[in-house]
Symmetry: C2
Subunit: 314 residues, 2 copies
């Protein structure tokens, strides 16, 4: 039997990527869509449809389409409730619209959950039974695989590690939740904290030079401020993850996003923190690894979710 091929669409606030996916591998990439230049939701759906047609031309035997979206999506009913950084997407029945226009099986899913699924099925957490995935970026996204299944929770909102509190009297999050973890380790917060630390050390560094990538380079070159900051971030990330570890006792934690590229600078203090804050049965066999699929996790994950939700026997 031939392995089925699906179109994976990674709907981001800046760009929308799409590709043909076969068994977790990209076999062809479609043209990128600039999200904000494309107009309202109807115009973006038109652009999506045109990319789908292009990809179907490349591979006419495509059987499914998966879309990963940055926001609150109802994967059961196929409705986009709201997107985080893209206005005009309120209660859009995206699954049925695409299904009608393409005739193919369509699945929609939250982007962090799609990425977690990709990392579990084809990436860094391949043999995991219970996996916690986090993606560090502007905010902190999360996805859970529990008992070898994508875990969505009762109302499809599970996995919001970035909103969990590390300090009940701390910095307020987007929902008035004090101590929200993402308000400590989001890209903007990291840049601000770096700038302040540099200032304290008598150095004026423009905020544009305080991206995770720049701080990574600086630390690799031995910059003490950058090294200190990565250590501190590792403690905070380790603290938040320890809470998930006490609750879920996972075997694998996958950390992705720009920040994760700092490698051992970040992973060493994370491991150390989880070791210090939990107990042996929780950390002794726990594997903490960087994401393996990078920017491709979105298209691979959404296509895989779609393929694995095809009705009937495969």
């Amino acid at each position: 039997m031939k392995t089925p091929i699906a179109i994976g669409i990674d709907f981001g606030g800046t760009t929308i990527k799409c590709a043909l996916i076969e068994e977790g591998r990209i076999i062809h990439r479609g043209e990128v869509i600039e999200t904000h230049r494309s107009g309202d939701s109807a115009a973006i759906i038109d652009a999506l449809f045109s990319r789908i047609v292009d990809l179907q031309r490349v591979c006419p035997e495509t059987v499914a389409i998966g879309v990963g979206l940055p926001g609150i999506t109802d994967s059961v009913n196929g409705i986009v409730h709201r997107l985080s950084n893209v206005p005009g997407w309120n209660e859009v029945p995206l699954r049925d619209i695409l299904r009608r226009r393409t005739g193919l099986h369509v699945a929609i899913e939250n982007d962090a959950k799609s990425m977690a699924y990709a990392e579990w099925k084809y990436g860094a957490a391949k043999r995991g039974e219970n996996v916690v995935c986090i993606t560090l970026g502007t905010g902190v996204g999360g996805g859970l695989i529990l008992n070898r299944r994508l875990y969505r929770g009762s109302f499809l909102g599970a996995g919001e590690i970035g909103q969990m509190s590390i300090d009940y009297k701390g910095i307020p999050g987007n929902y008035g939740n004090p101590g929200a973890f993402e308000k400590y380790v989001g890209n903007a917060q990291i840049a601000e904290r770096a700038q302040k630390l540099y200032e304290k050390a008598g150095k004026l560094v423009p905020i544009e030079q305080c991206t995770p990538a720049a701080l990574d380079d600086a630390a690799q070159a031995g910059d003490p401020v950058a090294c200190q900051l990565w250590g501190q971030l590792g403690i905070e990330i380790g603290t938040a993850l320890s809470n998930a570890v006490w609750l879920l006792n996972p075997d694998t934690i996958v950390i992705g996003g720009g920040v994760a590229r700092a490698g051992e600078l970040l992973f060493a203090p994370i491991r150390q923190t989880i070791r210090a804050l939990t107990m042996p049965i929780f950390y002794e066999n726990l594997v903490i690894v960087p994401a393996a699929l990078g920017n491709d996790a979105g298209v691979i994950g959404s296509a895989s979710v779609a393929l694995d939700s095809l009705p009937g026997p495969a």
Copy 2:
């Protein structure tokens, strides 16, 4: 077909209770064992065996035995690694010992997980798909039902809500974990906090009169100090539960233990806090209820876990 009957054993630090259980109901109670008066683990196992024989005499068709224990238990291999407040229980293969001596099917499980299972199967969370249970006492125990199954985690340690941090720079927990939730709302902590609050209000109250039950009575009678304390406890419990809600998006939260008897004095601020710290899809359909089975949850849960793990078709 007759409904199967099992013996449920609730192994506590103070007493060990046992009963015959049929479909989640106690049909006969065995004599209580005083845990500390009974000697070492071998002597306690002898006492357990004698109670089992007594109960088998009452009901010769008993098919299984379930034991819920306060500590780290390996329910897969049937080994008690360690008990929290009972010395001399290190690496005891309790399941095989009881199996050999009784010839019956035996299952062992952590007590908080047994109680969660009982509340889900027969108690306050009967229709729940994803349920978070906490038991407030000396410490805070927890158990999770996810996708209608008892969730144990990869190394059988899941559900330790009491160890989750509400403040990464806060009061250290038993494992050096700062801000451990149970160090804010455990019985001893509640008593100390109450005494201090009374002192501040110019009243000297002995610590023995600061039990959850006494504070409950006081608050029901309008005592402002007790009312204030229950409100504050509700905020802390609500904060810890909000973290579990963001991560797991459950439909039901069950709160048990002595503290939960305070009823709306405690449940109102808990609900309010979860509402304030999360977002509508997380709290709008979330049910937060007191445990329904009280002190019987242990025997009912352990018997039910044993019955539901019987091999072959029921």
